[in-house]
């Protein structure tokens, strides 16, 4: 596997110029995610109204994969329902395990750019940090409904 596919433009761009790396005003949810092997940290912040994700952001510190993955994720889930976002999280986690269908990868839009990380076991935890944190929040939200 070459670099060209791995640290691709989508990833480096979201890492250098994140769209959603800031604090959210009055978030409904704030959850910390930590990846002890790399020391990646993110704090995911969400606003959820009537089952729809109305706002999302993160702050944190870590490798390009963890930070870009979180940024791409937020881009993707804004305006989606909790159920849609949960289903995307499942697709993403399957993709990283190398188990997703082409259709699923396509539905993940830019997040599909992280597909190659499935070949780098040592970096999988970085890619899934944001998504795991998201899942934890949304499952709580589901429990509330």
């Amino acid at each position: 596997m070459g670099n060209s596919t791995f640290y691709n433009e989508v990833l480096t761009d979201h890492n250098m110029h994140p769209l959603h790396k800031h604090d959210l005003e009055n978030p409904d949810y704030v959850l910390e995610g930590v990846n002890p092997s790399c020391g990646d940290e993110i704090s995911l912040q969400l606003k959820v109204e009537d089952g729809v994700i109305k706002g999302g952001s993160f702050v944190g510190d870590g490798c390009a994969i963890s930070q870009a993955s979180a940024d791409i994720m937020i881009d993707l889930i804004l305006g989606k329902t909790v159920e849609e976002a949960l289903s995307m999280a499942d697709s993403f986690l399957r993709m990283i395990k190398g188990e997703a269908t082409e259709e699923e990868i396509e539905s993940l839009e830019e997040a599909g750019a992280l597909e190659d990380i499935s070949h780098m076991p040592a970096r999988v935890k970085c890619a899934v940090l944001g998504w795991h944190t998201l899942k934890e929040i949304l499952e709580k939200e589901c429990g509330k409904q």
Partner: protein, 413 residues
């Protein structure tokens, strides 16, 4: 030794390492573990094919042979470290286990409320956590010995934290992050004058330089075999005989006793007292073979010359590269085969992943030294670490690959 002879010797020695021939890779993570020469692999194989029985037990010839091989490894280890007698060497799994043995056995026997244990800021978690736990068990206090920004432990810094309450001073001889060799003898003398015992972590020094425990006058010293060409799972604790002799057992069970009855137990003499259960004889034989290999085929003069030459190439190259910060001393001669650095804007794990695709293996992370990372004000770093079998070409391949990193991540365009 002139450069040409040195390079020829590296080429010759590399042929002893089967893995180096298997992988098209510059393996520069030797501080984590080294590769194994065929001499060590064959010795372990031969032990299990022709000499294996449970050592120290049977009275039949084969068991006696196994015992002989195991004790031969102990004698070789004692000779390597300049110990006064082989009984001063206790075989363990690794440096971590040696330090836990000390913290539980020596620590529980000698630490009491109000005592102090000094641990340097440089320590690997294995020379920090066991002492932290031992201090907590005893109600003693753990005190940090700071290092200089160059990664050096000084007598001056020790004098500020040492007192008559100090019972144990634990320090590394070469930091696995800073790579700096500490001149520990003056600090050890000071600790002794204050009535404390000294524990030296030799995990990164013993494989790379001639360490003599009597010249150091340290009470204890630990190291791991796998960082010096031996198999994983064998390491050693050196202790002055009279100190070891007065210590209670760590693990109890088979082999470490003289007599056991329901109501009275006599533990075995040192070092058997500390080697409960069936020992790792194959590993010990491998360690013995590694020590012989380093002594007879390689030599510490050569190891130091080769590793210094490689460090010089890397330090010179890094100093000319933009966006690189070397942690600790900026002088090549202060780095014992280890150089730790940061790349501006790029997380160490991304650096290591990119280098991996360029067929260069380096370490990224906190190197099991998070208190030192806190001390340095960083979260993680990149580390390149050499063994004598590394070549100039590999050092240059590392620099070339590193030179691509910031560009690949979209910086400096």
């Amino acid at each position: 030794m002139d450069t040409q002879t040195r390079i020829a010797k590296v080429d010759r020695l590399r042929a002893d390492f089967p893995l180096l021939g298997e992988w098209d890779l510059a393996y520069l993570d030797n501080a984590a573990t080294t590769q194994k020469p065929v001499q060590v692999l064959e010795a372990v194989k031969h032990y299990y094919e022709a000499e294996n029985a449970n050592p120290l037990r049977g009275v039949y010839a084969l068991s006696e042979l196994a015992t002989e091989r195991y004790e031969e490894a102990r004698a070789l280890t004692a000779e390597l470290l300049g110990a006064a007698r082989p009984e001063e060497i206790v075989f363990t799994r690794n440096a971590t286990e040696s330090l836990n043995l000390l913290a539980y056995s020596y620590g529980s026997a000698h630490l009491k409320e109000g005592d102090e244990v000094i641990v340097s800021a440089l320590e690997h978690h294995s020379n920090f956590l066991p002492w932290k736990a031992a201090a907590e068990r005893a109600g003693a206090k753990l005190i940090q010995l700071p290092c200089t920004p160059e990664g050096e432990l000084t007598a001056e810094a020790l004098s500020k934290v040492l007192s008559e309450r100090t019972k144990i001073v634990a320090m590394t001889q070469v930091s696995n992050v800073m790579g700096r060799k500490n001149d520990l003898r003056p600090l050890i003398d000071m600790a002794h004058a204050a009535g404390a015992v000294t524990v030296v972590d030799g995990a990164q020094s013993v494989p790379h330089m001639q360490v003599n425990v009597r010249e150091l006058d340290t009470d204890f010293l630990v190291f791991s075999g796998h960082k010096m060409m031996a198999p994983m799972g064998i390491g050693a604790l050196y202790g002055k005989y009279e100190l070891l002799d007065a210590m209670p057992p760590f693990l109890t069970g088979g082999e470490m006793i003289e007599t056991v009855h329901w109501d009275r137990i006599r533990y075995a003499q040192v070092p058997t007292r500390f080697e409960a259960g069936t020992v790792n004889a194959g590993g010990a034989v491998g360690l013995g073979a590694a020590i012989r290999y380093i002594r007879d085929e390689v030599g510490f003069d050569f190891i130091e010359a080769q590793e210094s030459a490689l460090v010089k190439i890397v330090m010179d190259g890094l100093s000319q590269m933009e966006g690189i910060t070397v942690i600790g001393s900026q002088k090549a001669e202060d780095h014992k085969g280890i150089v730790t650095f940061m790349v501006d804007d790029v997380h160490p794990h991304d650096v290591a992943s990119i280098l991996s695709t360029e067929k260069v293996a380096i370490r990224a992370g906190h190197h099991c030294a998070q208190p030192l990372m806190d001390f340095l004000g960083v979260k993680s770093t990149c580390r390149v670490s050499f063994a004598f079998y590394n070549t100039e070409e590999e050092a240059e391949a590392f620099l070339r690959a590193l030179g691509k990193v910031r560009g690949l991540m979209g910086y400096g365009k």
